[in-house]
Symmetry: C2
Subunit: 404 residues, 2 copies
């Protein structure tokens, strides 16, 4: 089974896309995205585990349980979170307008929002923009969709995978946004706004279960700032137009899940690399402790340590901060056995510095936009990884004046 991943959009049989300006963002940038299927299709989704859930999350999570959908309408510029009953009404007004325009049932439209928390969704602006948006729908409109969901992102995040099942080709297209408030924790597990569209055959419930596993292996191991959003959403729609064989026992076919995993891994990496103000995307790999769970706890603690993150910004192979963060994760290991490498340069062996020369080599690696850090903390079987980024002036600049 060969799955190839590409960092671009592609058309997906059965879906049309559009993106436009509804005036939600003060900047006038694109802020309304639409994806519509030719008929009702299988749908799955996983959402934020934050106790505070935005109105669109509440609505989409309820609707996706039926396992079918016709459309996704997503806006940037306003999260519609912490907006109470009024927020729910605003979200429902926009999905109702879209449902009328495309001849679908209300419950077949899945909403998503991202932007400032606490501001009410300007439903009127969206309702007014719907007719023109629907008129612009096209099979090759995915790039406009991807553009319209961005907030503080430096650019769109798209990827697609092609796979085959018994000689039949299928495609999975993924589009995501996310630069800040990124520390997804979705349940079954979910992320930022990420949307998958495939022409493979799938059932709605099987899609949701597969998305849970995929999110857990990708977005839920990625962190920009440790802050889990109120709006994290991962939705997948499957048109079945590729007429691929279904999976066994009511589950998603393994090849399709693998393609979804590949696309989401690519999107997660793009998100972290585009962390607010970030200059480096780093994969921290922890191994040698007793359990995978323990390793993940250590990787997460390192990934969210401000001292580690500022050291990465400063291109400083400050292994003492790495080891200190590992030591406060609450997971047992013997520090005197620790080995730490940056890229392929070992800087710590048996818990002690290898030497200045190695740190100079490590500094050179830390200048690159993407590299790995390995911590081997013993000879236990537990292992995990986390995608993280540095914390620099750009992050502060971006977030100290976010609402103004």
């Amino acid at each position: 089974m060969t799955i190839s991943i590409r960092s671009s959009t592609v058309s997906v049989a059965g879906f049309r896309f559009a993106g436009s300006r509804a005036g939600i963002k003060k900047s006038g940038a694109p802020d309304l995205a639409l994806a519509v299927s030719d008929g009702a299709v299988a749908a799955g989704g996983v959402f934020t585990t934050n106790l505070v859930q935005a109105a669109p999350v509440i609505v989409a999570a309820e609707r996706v349980r039926k396992g079918i959908a016709r459309a996704v309408i997503a806006n940037s510029g306003c999260a519609n979170a912490c907006t109470g009953e009024e927020g729910l009404e605003a979200t429902r007004a926009t999905t109702a307008a879209l449902a009328r325009a495309i001849g679908a049932a209300d419950a077949e439209v899945l909403p998503a929002s991202t932007g400032v928390i606490g501001a009410l969704l300007p439903a009127r602006k969206i309702v007014d923009a719907v007719p023109a948006l629907v008129a612009e729908l096209s099979a090759d409109g995915a790039d406009r969709f991807a553009e319209a969901i961005l907030t503080t992102d430096r650019g769109p995040k798209v990827a697609h995978a092609r796979g085959q099942i018994d000689g039949r080709s299928f495609v999975v297209l993924g589009m995501a946004k996310g630069a800040g408030m990124i520390h997804p924790s979705m349940a079954p597990h979910a992320t930022m706004l990420s949307f998958l569209f495939t022409d493979a055959v799938a059932g709605g419930a099987a899609l949701t279960r597969a998305l849970g596993r995929v999110a857990d292996a990708t977005f839920n191991q990625a962190s920009v700032d440790g802050d889990t959003s109120t709006n994290d959403t991962l939705i997948a729609l499957a048109s079945g137009r590729a007429a691929t064989a279904p999976g066994a026992k009511g589950e998603l076919h393994g090849a399709v899940e693998e393609a979804c995993l590949g696309v989401c891994e690519e999107l997660a990496r793009k998100m972290v690399a585009d962390g607010e103000g970030a200059e480096h995307m780093v994969e921290v790999r922890v191994s040698g402790v007793a359990t995978d769970e323990g390793a993940r706890q250590i990787a997460r603690t390192i990934a969210t340590s401000p001292l580690v993150k500022t050291a990465l910004f400063g291109k400083d192979p400050n292994w003492g901060r790495l080891l200190s963060a590992a030591g406060r994760a609450g997971v047992p290991f013997d520090p005197s056995c620790a080995r730490i490498s940056i890229g392929d340069v070992a800087i710590v062996d048996k818990g002690r510095a290898v030497g200045e020369a190695r740190e100079v080599e490590a500094r050179a690696i830390m200048a690159s936009p993407s590299y790995g850090i390995d911590l081997v903390l013993g000879d236990g079987p537990g292992r995990a990884r986390y995608l993280m980024c540095d914390l620099g002036m750009g992050y502060v600049r971006c977030n100290a004046g976010y609402r103004s």
Copy 2:
């Protein structure tokens, strides 16, 4: 019982202090501090819970268990953490030199270190500096002690309390350092480097138990960056020279514990206010959830949220970030009941914004160096508070180039 707290040093019967330059810091700033008692006195201490413990922590924690000590020797400029057996030998060499110089037993000298992790303590420099340092000891040398333990601090952190027991006066002097890697978690619970000296009567074991409670109520509810150090240390020495009545049942007298609590609260506030690059010290108070523990978990999550911290830096009453951070703390509450105030200005009621005018008032409060934020999340009895600071350009500047 009236305990008065002052932000200055004071002489404490039975103790002499000194501080000098041993050449550990490249800058040539003071880096070696010494406190010596006239004879063996009661001693207690609590230390970091980080799995990675610096050599001086290992040595001091072992020695303090005996409950008596003669001296504290503390250096800045080098943490002597992650330095293995060699590090332990270096620490022991310095305490042995001091023990010889003052005619004490090795085990009566308590070491403490702070500075860069991973560098070996330059024991030779300290041993060479000991004779002159001992010669400089004086009853009014506390300010020089306080100066010599600083690293990235903007200035010394000192406080003292005066109290009375049955007409007998006693004093508690506290000196601390700490600006970064501040998120103490000490066990029985301990902090950054903090030293208390009192002339009250106390037993060593009772002191340690009291310090555990005091640290839990002060330093362990304070965070600069969420990173718990490898070197956190809170040590107290009691000369008994004030001849105050001992506490009941082998415990520290309540008045002395109250004085220690007052001094540590003052030191904790100074530490957070002097958080690396910080411009605002904020006390976050959470109430209305089911348990104190739950309230503390929420307060801690807010206190360590990069998005909340950058909003404080930007003087932005971004309550959505406060509520979102509370929502991901894993503690149940009803967001639609939330009330949030900044200073005495209510900006959120029943989970919704009160209005623009209030946020303008809140912005004005957020310009001050110190203020409080209250989150009332229901009508449960659980309550807690956390001392936190903002995260701004100064923090990044300080930590991106820390070792260079």
